[in-house]
């Protein structure tokens, strides 16, 4: 069962949340971030090339121009491969674990899987980010030594940064699965 809704992130950009309900024990949430805007790309390229042309008129060395082109290309490729995240996915499977995938604009995917045995809870937390106070969804991991302690806090949707209304949707679905998992787990 698929469902798509439109939300906004903390800066006002448009996000699309796609929910897939595979079975009572498996759900997937896919957040698509706004694409690379042509305007910012043109602006950066123009600044770099204008600066290179300015240096060229000073130094009369044509290597500067080719170096500027090279730097722009490499910079763009590096940005697309290492920085620009297109889509973030959260897959929650009852009694198996939680998987977070980030897909970059160049197609690279980076995945983290956390086993259900290590997950204590999923909560919405408040944080101070630059000059704003934002909400973010995070997974709390159990501490092996202390039964009521928390070893680590893993934030979810770090680069999409959706607002509270989107987070509440995801939070509700996840809590349903976690509640079901806690009810049927064999260990106390």
């Amino acid at each position: 069962m698929e469902d798509e809704r439109s939300f906004s992130d903390i800066c006002g950009g448009r996000l699309a949340l796609q929910r897939r309900y595979y079975s009572p024990s498996c759900r997937e949430f896919c957040l698509r971030c706004p694409r690379l805007s042509l305007r910012s790309l043109t602006a950066v390229t123009c600044t770099v090339w204008l600066a290179a042309y300015g240096l060229f008129t000073l130094c009369e060395n044509s290597m500067i121009l080719s170096a500027a082109i090279f730097i722009t290309l490499l910079g763009l490729l590096g940005y697309l491969h290492f920085v620009k995240i297109d889509q973030e996915t959260l897959l929650i499977i009852d009694s198996l674990g939680i998987q977070m995938t980030s897909s970059y604009a160049s197609g690279k995917e980076s995945t983290t899987f956390i086993e259900m045995g290590k997950v204590k809870d999923i909560v919405i937390n408040e944080a101070i980010y630059m000059q704003k106070v934002i909400y973010y969804l995070c997974i709390l991991l159990k501490d092996p030594v202390e039964p009521h302690g928390i070893a680590q806090v893993v934030p979810v949707f770090q680069s999409a940064k959706p607002r509270l209304d989107c987070l509440i949707e995801v939070y509700r679905s996840c809590q349903e699965i976690l509640a079901h998992q806690k009810a049927t787990s064999t260990s106390p």
């Binding site: 024990s25 897959l91 198996l96 995945t111 983290t112 899987f113 092996p144």
Partner: protein, 581 residues
Amino acid sequence: MVLKAFFPTCCVSVDSGLLVGRWVPEHSSAVVLAVLHFPFIPIQVKQLLAQVRQASEVGVAVLGTWCHCRQEPEESLGRFLEGLGAVFPHEPWLQLCRERGGTLWSCEVTHRQAPTDPSAPGEDQVMLIFYDQRQVLLSQLHPPTVLPDRQAGATPASTGGLAAVFDTVARSEVLFRSDRFDEGPVRLSHWQSEGVEASILAELARRASGPVCLLLASLLSLVSAVGACRVFKLWPLSFVGSKLSTCEQLRHRLEHLTLIFSTRKAENSAQLMRKANTVASVLLDVALGLTLLSWLHGRSRIGHLADALVPVADHVAEELQHLLQWLMGAPAGLKMNRALDQVLGRFFLYHIHLWISYIHLMSPFIEHILWHVGLSACLGLTVALSLLSDIIALLTFHIYCFYVYGARLYCLKIHGLSSLWRLFRGKKWNVLRQRVDSCSYDLDQLFIGTLLFTILLFLLPTTALYYLVFTLLRLLVVAVQGLIHLLVDLINSLPLYSLGLRLCRPYRLAAGVKFRVLQHEAGRPLRLLMQINPLPYSRVMHTYRLPSCGCHPKDSWGALCRKLFFGELIYPWRQRGDKQD
């Protein structure tokens, strides 16, 4: 809890049969290792499973039945399969079925006893997780989870379910040893059933490595015995040996070679990787060294180098003389104390004169020395670089001497000044109590003390300037040596084998797993594909770094600045086992 059935991808298209594997009750997961085909005799199956259980210490059992219907589902087969549940009692009993078309899967779980927990949902949910058996067998999870309990079937509940799956598949190698060409009593399907993987080269290497290792290990023990003999422990040789980085590097390499050729087998995978990385590092070193050797000895480059060396040393000495002349005049417009200036300047100039005469004395032998030093590159690039670093240290010995003279003078002056400053204020350093106490001095003590204080204070700029200039020169030389040491360290500690493995066989080094949901139909069990998530390169470097020589700076930046201010001598590179000065 949802029941998880781990099914190997190699068995997806095989004929019907029995599911053989291990049941992990704590995580409610069934790990299917192989499919046993019809016809079979139940007694033989039970015997085989008992043998496998004993050999691998894994609780393999018959978990259920596998039915692959290519045409219409047969009624008789269905009832036959149900009857098998009585022959091989296992709780719970799985019945996996793949219907025609290939995408319709079904899985039924039957419990013999009634569920003990009344609040558990009536129908068990089942999840099918497909895994690549070969990759899971060969891969290694990081961080490695230690499973202390190796009894058949027992797994501590605190370990993750996935670690248990990996462990089960890895330990059941004995089950995968037979393939379909073997004439055995039963016919199994697993990842090696099309033919056992083996390599002739690997087998030959294994056979040859025994005697070769023995021979080389005895040779190396001879070399280390020679190196450890009493002659080298006597004072001049031991001092020289501890100061030269070449000796340290040679010792390090000898340790590495002893590790590689030791006849003891590696106990766990970490030690095996360490050995492999050491071999790769030594091979790279020797290859780079031989390249350097061929470059140096071709086209009489050594002659050119030797010809260039003496003029360069002369030039450096000349520059130093110019510098001292400049200091003896009015450097940067500062007014120096003429007498002290002349004394220090003349002293250092004479020192340079001695040094230049020494270099000129050595000049006929330089080419021969360089030629023999160049030969040492065949031992490895790191040895050649360490030799280069030592040669630089020897050639700039005069700069080191100047630095020591300047530092000692400055240090003396600073201590004198601080002590006399305390006298000026009427205080004294109490050695017993390690603190500053007030003290009443006599008039003549005060008079002489103030006089000396004034003299030292007005001579301070001159000494400080000499100290500053020579410290900067010394720091420059130390920086160059430091760069060379960094390069040597890099070659020593780079885990090439692990990086190559991560590049070419990424499934061998696993940071974890990742799941992909396969096409899902309503009413059918959920199907997932489990793939290996390879370790990122940064973690590979961090986990498998070889231990380096340990020559990194011991002082923090703050401590270094403090030492420089007070004129204490700095030795940035402390080798292991050096006495503190």
